[in-house]
């Protein structure tokens, strides 16, 4: 009997979103009850905030083309990580030498800091992320142009 009732509610797909939302709310409550969780001090890819560095907060240290220390999970799988993380193009170098307040600009424009966590040690993640975006754009474009077809 109870299964009949449940399946009757779930058979209407307008009800699944509220059911899922209720599950999320219950789960949030459960997670709040299990707090506080311990924080592990031994984190991968640690990054220090260096006050006074013009690349703050993206400074991973080291001169370019000498290997900066990156604490990765399997260092043997990415032996070249850390070589170009401090490399700046002349424009970025100019910016970084003349102002302390352009850190995000330097990271965000081409030729700025290459975060090797993103492009070397965790490269597959970075490939999948834009794929999600491209698929989302493809769906949006198809739905938008649907009336023309």
């Amino acid at each position: 009997m109870i299964i009949q009732k449940i399946s009757r509610v779930l058979s209407n797909f307008d009800n699944i979103l509220p059911v899922f939302a209720a599950a999320c709310a219950a789960m949030s409550l459960f997670v709040l009850l299990t707090l506080p969780l311990p924080y592990s001090e031994d984190q991968l890819y640690p990054k220090e905030i260096v006050p006074g560095s013009s690349l703050n907060p993206y400074d991973r240290g080291g001169p370019p083309f000498t290997q900066a220390a990156i604490h990765s999970q399997y260092p043997e799988n990415s032996p070249t990580a850390g070589y170009v993380t401090a490399y700046l193009t002349p424009l970025s170098l100019f910016l970084s030498e003349h102002t302390l307040y352009m850190g995000t600009t330097i990271v965000a424009h081409p030729g700025g800091i290459l975060d090797e966590i993103l492009y070397n040690t965790r490269g597959l993640d970075t490939v999948v992320e834009p794929t999600i975006l491209f698929v989302a754009f493809a769906i949006a474009a198809y739905l938008f142009r649907k009336r023309e077809a």
Binding site: L10, S11, N12, F13, D14, I16, L17, F20, A21, A23, C24, M27, F30, V31, T34, L37, P38, Y39, S40, E41, D42, Q43, L44, S72, Q73, Y74, N77, S78, A81, N120, T121, R122, G123, L124, D125, V128, E129, T131, I132, V135, A136, A138, I139, Y142, L143, K146, A149
Partner: protein, 217 residues
């Protein structure tokens, strides 16, 4: 190592993301691969409807653009599934699963019927909401253990909190909700049918895989 899916046969390293094939993940990977190939070679079903009270029948035509789009989405879904089956990294797994979710939205959303579009909209909302607990779980795993690699977590020295595991399952449930909508939208026998089966298959596969992940970490 806690070998829930059998002994690893082969490792493929992408930096810190180590893809590993155990008998379990290899089976799921091959299943996803075979279905992707089926989708690639199959043609959409042309539904026939008998006109009431006569000998006439209607054959529903699938436009080429719809066929192309749904085939593309199904193959993308198959590839995402293959990735989710074998990846050895918690964050990478969540990314692949959300890619599966968004591809499923695309497969459902391409059908030109108000009823089906409505279902796709509702499913899109669930899939969107499902990413929140899933990425929260990945963040909690990273914060409490300091690593994201399943192979490291499987050694048993690090304990993943129960809350993170529960959030991961809830998130994957949200992403894998597609069959509810696909079945409700009566699309298995609708025009363009074979591609919808990818929704169900990918949901089944990610549920199987998340079970392994939860038992492993």
């Amino acid at each position: 190592m806690n070998e829930i899916g059998g002994a690893p046969l082969f490792f493929l390293e992408f930096g810190d993301i180590v893809i590993y094939f155990t008998p379990f993940t290899l089976t799921l990977f091959l299943l996803a691969l075979v279905f992707s190939v089926f989708v690639l070679v199959s043609r959409p079903e042309r539904q026939l409807e008998i006109a009431f009270g006569g000998d006439a029948y209607y054959a529903k035509e699938i436009s080429l653009s719809e066929l192309r789009f749904r085939r593309f989405m199904s193959i993308a879904c198959g590839l995402a599934c293959m990735g989710a089956m074998v990846t050895g990294d918690v964050f990478d797994f969540t990314l692949f699963v959300s890619l599966v979710g968004i591809c499923n939205v695309g497969i459902v959303a391409a059908v030109r019927s108000r009823h089906v579009q409505n279902a796709a909209y509702q499913y899109g909302l669930v899939a969107l909401a499902g990413t929140v607990p899933m990425f929260a779980a990945a963040g909690m795993v990273a914060a409490t253990t300091g690593t994201l690699s399943m192979l490291e977590l499987a050694k048993g020295a690090l304990t993943v909190p129960l809350a993170a595991q529960a959030l991961l399952v809830l998130g994957v449930m949200g992403e894998g909700m597609a069959p509810f909508y696909a079945a409700k939208a009566e699309m298995f026998r609708a025009p363009g049918a074979p591609y919808v089966i990818m929704c169900s298959l990918s949901s089944l596969l990610i549920f199987l895989r998340v079970t392994e992940v939860i038992l492993l970490i």
